[in-house]
């Protein structure tokens, strides 16, 4: 443990952010670099628990107390080694993870959690800065070849591990750039694309082959994939968005969040796009859905110059503190105030969408909403019973609506059908839970394609475990 009474001496403190006005001017990351002193104090707050619930909270099982101690002692190299022993891409999770570790931090019982995510980010950035993070060629090479389809966090993690294990690894990506959701889903102000690019370069140096613009099953035959590789990983993500099927869905101006974010990302990076431009400049924007994607839409809309941004929630406002329904160390459903919210957003809770309103041209004019009344289920203590408040309907005027309600499952058309991969009732690929193996010999799957929509940190965890299983698969074969 770094300091036995650090948690008594220092309070939780996150680094400052650039002022809203300034940060809205561009798409750059706006969280400031913390001082050494700050990092030292924050790492000193870790109590090095006998039972580190944080580690249990982390899907990757990050060895949090160990790297906290190393940071406290300024052993950055050691901290880095501990960090990457469980996490291939701390530069991603350090920025965009909702940090279930912090929810589980023991200090959180009666104090504020350790700033684990911030420390994680700084460890890896320090490692890059000081040059001890560097690519490492695999120790040995086998004659086995593995294809990874999809270059999101799960695919990348699997590819990374497989390559290190000595398998010749090729990653197929249908988009023009590597990174999947990381590349095109998350805006730059949360995850600068240079960070993604840095990692991709690194992996190339380690010997991984990346094939962009290759849509397996479309411009690359499935048979060829089968012929050329000894194992295949399907990490194509969960990309079929959930729709909001209410009247006038066909109105012009209603978009799925990802279409907007992907395009914006291309714009920021100067990548040409062919589809219709979505621009929120001077527009009234409504975001439906309260997740991270919704927030990203808000931040992006504001940066494009939206007049006003609303965000509407079906459920009531979440509490700001834990209650008995979400005891420590579970991940609490608390009211989120993201940086995008800080940048300007009107939020409405307990409103249900009744219909979209369009004008005669079919152009979106607004959305008809109704106020909802929720009561708690007496057994579960959760908001379960919904009734509409009489005579509470109203129309919220707007020009653009982004639907950010999440994703249903992996795309079934094309690759999945061609390979005849079985699906579970939710439409996810069946990847025989602990084996990550599909019904087809030598075909594995991981990430959202298997698990359904989830967090980046879960995707990395799945990718790693999947690689482990493929390794066993080859070992058992030989």
């Amino acid at each position: 443990m770094g300091k036995t009474d650090g948690f008594l001496l220092y309070e939780r403190e996150l680094p400052s952010k650039l002022d809203v006005e300034k940060r809205l001017k561009d798409y750059k990351e706006f969280i400031q670099k913390p001082s050494d002193q700050q990092l030292n104090c924050q790492s000193a707050r870790c109590m090095d628990c006998g039972v580190p619930f944080c580690q249990n909270g982390c899907p990757l099982g990050n060895l949090i107390p160990e790297f906290n101690e190393a940071v406290y002692k300024k052993q950055w190299q050691k901290a880095y080694q501990i960090l990457i022993s469980t996490n291939n891409f701390p530069e991603f999770t350090g920025r965009i993870c909702p940090a279930p570790c912090e929810s589980a931090c023991v200090l959180g019982i009666n104090d504020k959690a350790v700033t684990i995510e911030e420390i994680e980010k700084n460890i890896v950035e320090m490692a890059f800065e000081q040059g001890f993070a560097k690519p490492r060629l695999p120790k040995l090479k086998t004659d086995k070849k593995v294809a990874v389809v999809g270059s999101g966090p799960a695919g990348l993690a699997a590819a990374y591990q497989l390559n290190q294990m000595g398998y010749t690894t090729t990653v197929f990506e249908r988009d023009p750039e590597i990174g999947g959701l990381l590349r095109f889903g998350i805006p730059d102000f949360k995850l600068d694309k240079n960070i993604v690019e840095r990692r991709v370069q690194w992996m190339k140096e380690e010997g991984i082959e990346f094939c962009t613009g290759i849509h397996v099953g479309v411009n690359y035959a499935v048979e060829e994939l089968n012929r050329n590789f000894d194992a295949i990983v399907l990490a194509t993500g969960s990309t079929v968005p959930k729709d909001l099927v209410i009247p006038n869905r066909d109105a012009k101006g209603i978009y799925f969040a990802m279409d907007f974010l992907k395009q914006s990302n291309k714009k920021v990076s100067g990548i040409p796009f062919e589809e219709e431009e979505i621009n929120t400049k001077g527009k009234k924007v409504v975001v439906i859905g309260g997740g991270d994607t919704g927030s990203d839409c808000i931040g992006t809309s504001n940066r494009q110059g939206a007049e006003v941004v609303y965000q509407i929630y079906y459920k009531p406002m979440q509490p700001t503190e834990r209650d008995e329904t979400m005891p420590w160390p579970s991940y609490p459903a608390l009211l989120q105030i993201t940086s995008s919210h800080e940048e300007g957003c009107d939020r409405m809770w307990s409103v249900n969408s009744k219909e979209f309103v369009k004008d005669e041209n079919g152009t979106l004019k607004g959305i008809r909403l109704v106020e909802a009344e929720w009561t708690k289920d007496s057994d579960e203590g959760k908001w379960n019973l919904y009734t509409e408040k009489p005579a509470s309907e109203f129309v919220l005027e707007c020009d653009i609506i982004f639907i950010a309600l999440g994703y249903t499952h992996v795309e079934h058309k094309g690759l999945v059908e061609a390979l005849d991969i079985h699906l579970d009732p939710k439409g996810n690929l069946i990847g025989n839970n602990k084996e990550y193996k599909t019904n087809q010999d030598k075909i594995f799957t991981c990430g959202d394609a298997r698990k359904g929509q989830s967090l980046v940190v879960w995707a990395i965890a799945e990718g790693r475990q999947c690689a482990e299983k493929i390794n066993e698969f080859f070992k058992n074969k030989s």
């Binding site: 948690f7 099982g61 023991v106 019982i109 290190q164 294990m165």
Partner: protein, 1509 residues
Amino acid sequence: MNTTQKKNPDNFTKNQGLYEPEFEFDSCGVGFVANIKGVKSYKIVSDAITMLENMEHRGATGYESNTGDGAGIQIQIPHELLYDEALNVGIDLPESGYYGVGMLFFSQNNFIREECKEVIAQSAEKLHLKILGYRPVPVSNIDLGDLAKSVEPVMEMLFIERPFDLDTEKDFERKLFIFKNYISHQMISITNNDPIGFYVASFSCKKLIYKGQLRSIQVRNYFKDLTNPKIRSAFGMVHSRFATNTSPTWSLAQPFRFLAHNGEINTLGGNLNWLRSSEKMFQSPFFTPQEMDMLLPLTKPGQSDSSYLDNMVELLYHSGRSLPHTMMMLIPEAWDGHEQMEHYKKDFYEFHACLMEPWDGPASISFTDGDMIGATLDRNGLRPSRYCITSDDLVIMASESGALSVDPQKIIKRGHLQPGKMFLVDMKKGTIISDDELKKEICTSKPYREWLDSMRINITELPNPKIRFNKLQTEDIFKYQKAFGYSREDLDGVIKEMASHGKEPIGSMGFDVPLAVLSEKPQHLSSYFKQLFAQVTNPPIDPIREKLVMSLTTIIGGNGNLLEEDKNFAHSIKLENPVINNNQLEKLRSVDTGRFQAKTIYTYFNARGKEGELKKAIDRICRYAVDAVDDGFEVIILSDRSLDSQHASIPSLLACSAVHHHLIRKGIRRKIGLVMEVGDVWEVHHFATLLGFGATAINPYLALASIRQMFDEGAFEEEDLVKLRDNYKKAVGDGLLKIFSKMGVSTLQSYHGAQIFEIIGLNKLVVNTCFTGAVSRIEGIGFDEIAKEALLKHQDAFKEDMENSLLDTGGIYQWRSNNEYHQFNPQSIHLLQQSAWNNDYDVFKKYSRLVNQQMGKATLLRGLLEFKNDRESIPLEEVEPIESIMKRFATGAMSFGSISWEAHTTLAIAMNRIGAKSNTGEGGEDEARYAPEKNGDNLRSSIKQVASGRFGVTARYLAEADEIQIKMAQGAKPGEGGQLSGDKVDSWIGKTRHSTPGVGLISPPPHHDIYSIEDLAQLIFDLKNANRHARLSVKLVSKAGVGTIASGVAKAKADHILISGYDGGTGASPLGSIRHTGLPWELGLAETHQTLIKNKLRQRVTLQVDGQMKTGRDLAIATLLGAEEWGIATSALIVEGCILMRKCHLNTCPVGIATQKEELRKKFKGKAEHLVNYFRFLAMEVREIMANLGFRTIDEMVGQSQCLERKTNTTFWKHQGIDLSRVLYKIKTDLPVIKSEDQDAGLGNSISWKMVEAAQYALQNNTSMEAGFDIKNTDRTVGTILSHELTKIYKSEGMNENSLLFNFKGTAGQSFGAFCNKGITMRLEGDANDYLGKGLSGAQLMIFPHKEAIIHANENSIVGNVALYGATSGKVFISGMAGERFAVRNSGATAVVEGIGDHGCEYMTGGKVIVLGGVGRNFGAGMSGGIAYVWDVNKTLEYHFNPDMADLESITEEDKELIFNLIKEHSENTGSTLAEYIISDWDNSCKHFTKVYPREYKKVIENQINDIT
């Protein structure tokens, strides 16, 4: 040779159940009466027996009150008696000295007896001895119990004529010795199945022994000879036995042929191995080779430790050494590091250390060869030995003073034997020889120093090695670390800590990962070995405060023929520390002294994983080792450096012990030193196991390289690598001393090869081959599995895929995901808390399923068990109600101090609400808790713990108990003491513990009033006097032999026994102790239950069990294995909010439990109702199991182990060999197997009742009174019952001083005035025994010699050992000297005494002690508070004082006044002439006072003064 014991009258063989006869130990009363001039008389014999009778309370009885544990007497051959008696049977005896008498125990079976006599006749012929005839020994057995009678031997005396060619008595004695051994060996086959067998009690031409399985008071009437006035002897040596078991054992009664022993040999296993390993080398001019063959082997299995020691003495004596010389060899003084010891003595001991390892353990031994009789104490001096000399040439030596009453006017000297000292009466010369004189003569009889100088080499003097070893390079270090199973936790948490701080790391809470044999993670072989520890039958030692007795010195080579003295035996290399660095190892490797060379043997095995590879490799290294000895090498280095991808290392412990035992079997182990060059050794336990199984020295090259590597990486603040390595070595050394001392062993030489471990999980083949003789009771893995486990690590190191620059994280001491399983993990903690907090039984069931199923694995022994119905299930309603089950709960002993007020009182409230019991722990109890709260809640803990520190143990505290619990050991750190640092002792805790705020507190490892089982019986007696209404409980920790100890405890009249598992919690312990000491409760409980039944004692005690109890299933299994009650601690704390931080020792508990910090205590969120919910759930779950198994009550469920069976569906490869049948073994009995019989506390005859009667009026009316009584040594714990009556009325405040005044005359028994409250004053004219004023709570005691005595009081011992132990207030004036350990742990009493023995004022925390005279060694050790003033006229204080915690200062004016007043009071109270003298010349005499002032205390006191001014 003993041949009779351990036959099985009740069909209880050692393969059934967990009991093993090796576990038996005994303790006792011992003494002798002798005429200095050798004048024989009947009176001496009679007096000796009287003395024996007066020590009756030191012996014991078992199930039958008329069957004792054994007693007897040794005398000179009573020629007149025997001559007459022999004539009656037609034998004409020659004159005295010309015939030998054998006292023989024969079988009751005539046929066997005749066969035995046939053997005797033939053997006599072979040895050219003439048999004169047999004489039946007349006995009267009408008073004996059936148990004793059932195996009563037929005793006959055998007379043998001295052959004409034997010139001296000595030669004849020697011949008889050979004869005795020779016939005994032959009898084994004849008497094999007989319960009595054949035994020779004595066979001598000088001495005769009468003994048997008798009570002390039965001896005189059993042997008719003893009341025949013709029986005459110049001495009578007696012994009264308190055995921990009750198997009938006539032959184990003492005295033995040369000695009577009170104590225990802790190192017996090793001593016997070393003996066996040298027997083949024995040569002596006194024995022909044929005779040597006849007398060997010297020992046979199944004897007691004392009888083995006697065998050894016998051999050494008959091979030409004198008896004192022999005793000095076997039980040397603490010479190593003793700066004041005379050089010749040191030389003697140092030389003999090359020959022989000490037989270590607490011992008071009386010995005789018929012409001289003497006594000696071991180096620690833990057994009492008082003597007095009279003007009519009588010497009386006994465990107690006053055992034989003597006219005080005739006494010319009263003394006590000091640690390591000897006392000898030479009856031929007619003189007493003092220790100095005697030892000087023996020590200078040979030029030992010269021998040592010429032959002995210190390792530092060896020439530099010829070749230097290449350092391991970084990459190799990593590879080796992986191959040997190092984790980051081992590096950062263990090795780095040791190197940085020179100490073993500390941890807290319990141990909840699987036993090694159950774990799915590859284990270190040492983890299958659990350290054993001293408990009840012998005391652990404090290696820090009493380091003067400890030694790490080890010797390579030298071990020659024991039976001769030769300077060549000194040819050896001496190491100050068994841990050697690389340079020292290389020196050894290239050593060549002309006759001293080393051979390196590589300990690899083929890594291809084929069956039998490991065993093959072991056979190979054993073979090579034998060859090396044959080829004349003196040092064998076993090295595991040779590993490569295809060759793995044999676990070093396996290699070491295999070679060690192989060489023992070949009889050549003593010829070589076994040096280990090992990578897989880094924590202290690893070193301990190697040393315990035969390693002489250890080079932990990889641990040292790891330190270097961490150093290079900048992991340390320290900038000097040498310092770091020295620290590491020091940490190992200190840790080893701690491990030795927890078993009561003082020296590495004794520990070496002593195998003080219990193995869990290795199969018979492995144990018999490599760990011969070690205890292993549940079988387990074999050679191939050990190999597999080693190969898992090896393959990890050499695997070719993915590079990883990190070692495994570990996860033993802290939970880690995807690593070692912990029973308390995020899920189980969360579910437990949520269930109790929300009163949700469904969630509780989730929790218990998770815990019970252990993720589908077995991580505890009980995880391998499942329930089995042997009767119909019943409806739940028919099972006894939840409420009555809940009364059987207790929470663990956690002190206020280790946990916060809030946490402590919440437990108490909850337990009181459900009628269960909470425990004060070792920290006293705030009296504010005795008054109930307004809402009816009660904060008072029902169980009052009495632990070694005795903090806050006052008359009131004891009076407020429903149960008094004597803590003999703690699961997490048995055999160790504790420490509460000064920063945790705030004013509140200070008050509760009767100590000074800010001053640290030490709990000694032993109870200083319990060094032996009869001492425990005495403490139980004391406490019953202090509160006869409370149930008396003794807390033991599970280990091999705990059942036997528990039997002793039951015989010592405890009402309740708690068996704790090793995995229980702690506020702070060394990690090694938490992990590697003690055993799971399943084993200890089952063994205890079985052994108590076997000894017919089960119905006398309630059995409770604790240690990681979590669910109803745990409780049900415990009940089926014999428990009636259950203790729960860790789980209860978790319900209070504990989240297993394991930082209790840092005072930073973030949930306000294990902390005293105000801001953290505020965070405490625990509630009594949550605890009630949890205990209710537990009871509910037990009920469900009961209904299912068909039990209506817990009572009928206890011990029904047939309802458990070994799971058959466990598939993990390591679990397959585990056999739990001995745990589940059920012994048939007609007696109840639950507590159903009251213990007779024996208070009935106490003199205290008369005191109560006399004080009745004064007590009721708060007036004063005075009365007088005669007193003798059997009047024990006088005054305490009265004090209890007083306390009931007047609480802690007591009465006015001197209200109840009593005058006694005579010798007081033990514990005079124990726990006596204020208002009582007891004046004693005469003397007193041990524990005077123990726990004194305000009373006044005055002791002074008889008015008519002629001795000078201040030169004579009139008070025994351990006076004022744990006293909290009151005053004591002693006109005379007291024994060892005066005022140990005194926290408030004032005492004036005129001289004391060793270890005075140890651990003292308060009060004042004035010593008007000398103090013994180690004065003021661990003294953190209080002040002592010593009148140091002879200027010896400086040498005897331990400066670690206190300073010597000159006295101030204030001190002067205080001293003057107290001496004046002393003079008035006792009439001390010394006091008068000092006062009369005050101006001069006051100059000689020195103040002993504890440093920390002084600081606090001075701050207080500054605060006021």
